[in-house]
Symmetry: C2
Subunit: 215 residues, 2 copies
């Protein structure tokens, strides 16, 4: 298998994994996955981010408590949007949220919880004055998260990129002793999947890509 075939096998089967076995991640494997994150690019190669990789059960429990309240609000917000929908649609949505709810309640049991933090002073936001919510700061941050997720997949591990906990940044900072002005931009639980890696549900290329101009 050549370099690109192998890569496409990894990328096309890197699903969001939210249910994990209790199998520990050995230190060498964890270090390889973390190193993969570090290889990601960033603006001016400033690498304005860090990972706090949490294995301590007591600390994971504190993060789980914070995450759970945000997750519950998120579910409630989404269910309210469906208030006019049929019972069948509501039940399907409830089932869809169940795995996320289980993850929130059992975060302390996930082998490693990676909290991604960044220094806002080292992030250059070229879209700060456009009258829409800026997103460009993420250009120096989320490539590293994606590298970590695909490296985890290649090792037989799984994870999921979550961001709800950012809303509670001051509390996360307190739990992990993160100094000001570092911000929280992602939480990635990592472990061996209970289910299987597998194919993805995505829109077709003809919808996602346009050539030369939009129309």
């Amino acid at each position: 298998m050549n370099m690109s075939e192998n890569l496409y096998e990894v990328l096309s089967t890197t699903r969001s994994i939210r249910r994990f076995t209790t199998q520990e991640i050995d230190e060498a494997t964890l270090h390889r996955v973390l190193q993969a994150a570090i290889w990601a690019p960033s603006g001016g190669n400033r690498q304005p981010w860090r990972i706090v990789a949490v294995k301590d059960t007591r600390i994971k429990k504190q993060l789980g408590d914070i995450y759970s309240t945000e997750w519950d609000k998120y579910v409630e917000m989404n269910m309210q949007k469906l208030s006019e929908a049929s019972e069948a649609v509501k039940e399907a949505a409830t089932r869809g949220f169940a795995t996320g709810t289980q993850l929130a309640r059992t975060l302390a049991d996930v082998p490693v919880v990676c909290i991604f933090v960044h220094n806002p002073a080292d992030v250059f936001t070229t879209d700060a004055h456009l009258g829409r919510t800026p997103v460009v700061g993420g250009a120096s941050l989320y490539p590293a998260v994606q590298n970590l997720l695909i490296a985890a997949r290649s090792e037989g591990l799984g994870g999921v990129l979550t961001t709800l906990i950012s809303a509670r940044e001051p509390e996360v900072r307190a739990v992990l002793n993160i100094p000001e002005p570092w911000g929280v931009h992602a939480m990635v639980p990592l472990g061996y999947p209970q289910g299987k890696h597998g194919s993805l549900r995505r829109a077709p290329l003809s919808e996602m890509v346009k050539f030369d101009t939009w129309s």
Copy 2:
């Protein structure tokens, strides 16, 4: 070579490439690289982004003109920060910016220029009310850009994640016929590198990763 060894070879040699040969990218290769971007995760699997892949020389020239003025401002801003530095430091900085300046001036000659756009209405920004610049919107956008870059590397292509052109979003929208409210969050020139893929300059894991707590 197993799945993870091969992946780590790709990730550890995916450098930012700014100088390209004139060799075209054949359609099948380009489609594989674009498909890799589509496999990236996004919040609620909403895939709130699109790529406009520009091959038309006239349109690339227009993008190059927009990008050049932003690049020149960026260089000037950085050189002003060095106004008190020694001549040697200033000369080194000038050499460092030369490749970027060449890219800006010759963007029309790069085989494919990918403009990444997103729908702000489909991006959920959990860090919008923290008193710092939000970055979390990027969580649904930049994993796709990174997938594209590493897929390009595995095919022997190169590229670089740039964001300066976002500052000129309304003009880019006009050039590419992108409708409101779509925003511009990245530009990735793609082609075969003039130089070689190779090792990266990154901070060590001991600096980038902390275990359990920050301190």
